[in-house]
């Protein structure tokens, strides 16, 4: 019998190609972009030198019409509506389904299917649905309201200068609520039956059961849902490009990067990207560390 001792060297060897690839293509390129964001390089020629944080200062303090701040505000509105929307709908659906329902599979399949569709494809139909024409020019959803006589519900959708981004988040909510529902369903089903039974024995009402027993158990699920929807929101590009195209009204940082690259301002595009990365990192890194720690504990 040739008993071999397990040494960790082969493991590290097997994984090392991936590590090298990620070291280069994730961390190396991020480093490259960070460096580029601190260069005086606003055209296709080589950099004219290192300028520290000047490009960031320009973005926040000297951007014409505060364009960058405006794109961040747009992103904020979008993100809040997107996250709240998916979590509310996802939770509602999962509550309606979690104790089993007739044709549960059907409902779940329908709620989830938008997830399989790309933003580019769904953008085609949502651009049509969110037609801002009203009254006799009403189209899309407005036409339904018009037909039902609910004129006051007709809206300008994404063309509203203040809340347009809330409308822009609707297709994203449509697309990902089913996903959040699935997360919650898995969360509910991960809760041991003993907990429910104990609560019932103690005479808890349905409301108390959810409030005191089940929801606290779902904290990790909610956290996952927040992280997933949140980071998707930061990257949002496809949907906006296919619904409105790149324009002031609906500009978010990811679209601003695209527009800036069109004018070959490489350093500025890099600075916007790096800022976006920082926002994501501020949320995701603590989360990853938290997950890592809690795993070690268990």
């Amino acid at each position: 019998m040739r008993h071999r001792k397990r040494t960790w060297i082969p493991g590290l060897l097997l994984i090392s190609p991936s590590l090298i690839l990620l070291a280069v293509f994730v961390y190396g390129l991020i480093g490259w972009t960070v460096d580029l964001s601190m260069q005086d390089r606003h055209n296709a020629r080589p950099s004219k030198g290192f300028v520290g944080l000047d490009n960031y200062d320009k973005l926040f303090n000297h951007d014409i019409n505060d364009r960058f701040t405006h794109s961040l505000l747009n992103l904020l509105v979008f993100t809040v509506v997107f996250i709240v929307g998916t979590i509310v709908l996802g939770l509602l659906w999962s509550l309606l389904l979690e104790r089993g329902a007739r044709a549960e599979g059907f409902f779940r399949t329908v709620y989830l299917f938008p997830m399989a569709v790309s933003f580019v494809a769904s953008g085609v139909v949502w651009r049509w649905l969110m037609n801002p024409g009203q009254g006799e020019n009403a189209g899309g959803i407005n036409a339904i309201f018009e037909g039902l006589g609910l004129h006051f519900l007709e809206g300008p959708w994404w063309t509203d200068p203040d809340w347009g981004m809330a409308a822009m988040a609707m297709p994203a909510v449509w697309q990902l609520s089913g996903y959040v529902m699935a997360l919650f369903l898995a969360g509910f089903r991960g809760i041991p039956d003993e907990l429910r039974e104990a609560a019932v024995v103690d005479g808890a009402t349905t409301f108390q059961l959810y409030r005191r027993v089940l929801f606290p158990q779902l904290t990790p699920t909610i956290l996952s849902a927040l992280i997933i929807t949140g980071h998707m929101s930061m990257k949002m590009f496809d949907l906006i490009m296919s619904v409105s195209g790149a324009q002031w009204l609906t500009e978010v940082p990811a679209v601003y990067v695209w527009q800036t690259l069109l004018t070959r301002d490489y350093a500025k595009a890099a600075a916007i990207s790096v800022f976006l990365l920082l926002v994501v990192a501020v949320v995701v890194v603590p989360y990853l560390i938290h997950v890592n720690r809690s795993e070690k504990r268990s």
Binding site: R6, W8, P10, L14, P17, S18, L22, F25, V26, Y27, L29, I30, W32, T33, W93, L96, G105, R108, V110, L112, A116, V117, S118, F119, V120, A121, S122, V124, V125, W128, L129, N131, G133, I144, Y179, A182, L183, A186, R189, R196, V200, T205, T221, S224, H231, M234, K235, F237, D238, M241, A269, A270, S273, L276, L277, L288, N292, S294, E295, K296
Partner: protein, 295 residues
Amino acid sequence: MTTQTMTAPPRSDQAPAPAPGPRRRRLPNVVRYAVLLLFVLIVLMPLYVLVVTSFKSGREIGVNGQWTLPETWTFASWEKAWLSLGPSFGRTFQLAIPVALLSSIIGAANGFVLARWRFPGADVVFTLILFGMFIPYQAVMIPLREVVLWLGVAPGIPTLIFVHTVYGIPICTLIFRNYYATVVPEELIEAGMMDGAGLLRTFRSLILPISIPGFVVTVIWQFTSAWNDYLFAIFMSNTRNGPITIALNALAGAQSPDYAASMAGALITSLPTLLVYILLGRWFIGGLMAGSVKS
């Protein structure tokens, strides 16, 4: 904290054990189903518009009457859409299938090492790998174009295969690591060692045979995300050598967009992923669940 996400999903489509719970003060079933059905209508509304419009002929496509059924059903728009999307449709398979296979294989090897053949600092390395899942790809896009070209990868689909595979490593590694941590007992590895098996042989003969569920999940996930990707595609390819999302965007964003053809195009574009979703629904859901780091 368990990794139940990975074991639960494949079964999650089955009827759940009716949870014991208080029967008092339950929402009346009529209300519950009414709400559920109302949401079904809302969720399916965009699909209805897509299908209905795609079969209408030019004159019927106006602002008025866009919710009605076509007076005459015509396939003309489907033909037109297929004409502009056809070539990229095939290319997208050439893209999505290799990406799905490649990143799954890499992910399986990585996941196995990180779950059951750990090295010092494996946890830190795992966290560093995971971070790659969350980065906004804009933060690497500018130099990425240059590096890939410098590496000599041909433009178009080969470049996109390479890029999707590399950036798919984190999620596939995560899925397999969680999977192996749940289903592969430490004893199995020990037994292999007793037989004198090294890392590769253990992985090949003991681990891979029980990895099918993991592969199904990663393959579906990577296939879908490569198929649906627009960001990498728009930066690194074009309508002549790129995937279908680019072609659809060009069709729908042309100067005089043909709405019926755009909608037919959107349906054509979505068909493969929808098919995957319908045929492999329960694993698809498993894939979605796996997208969360933990549940």
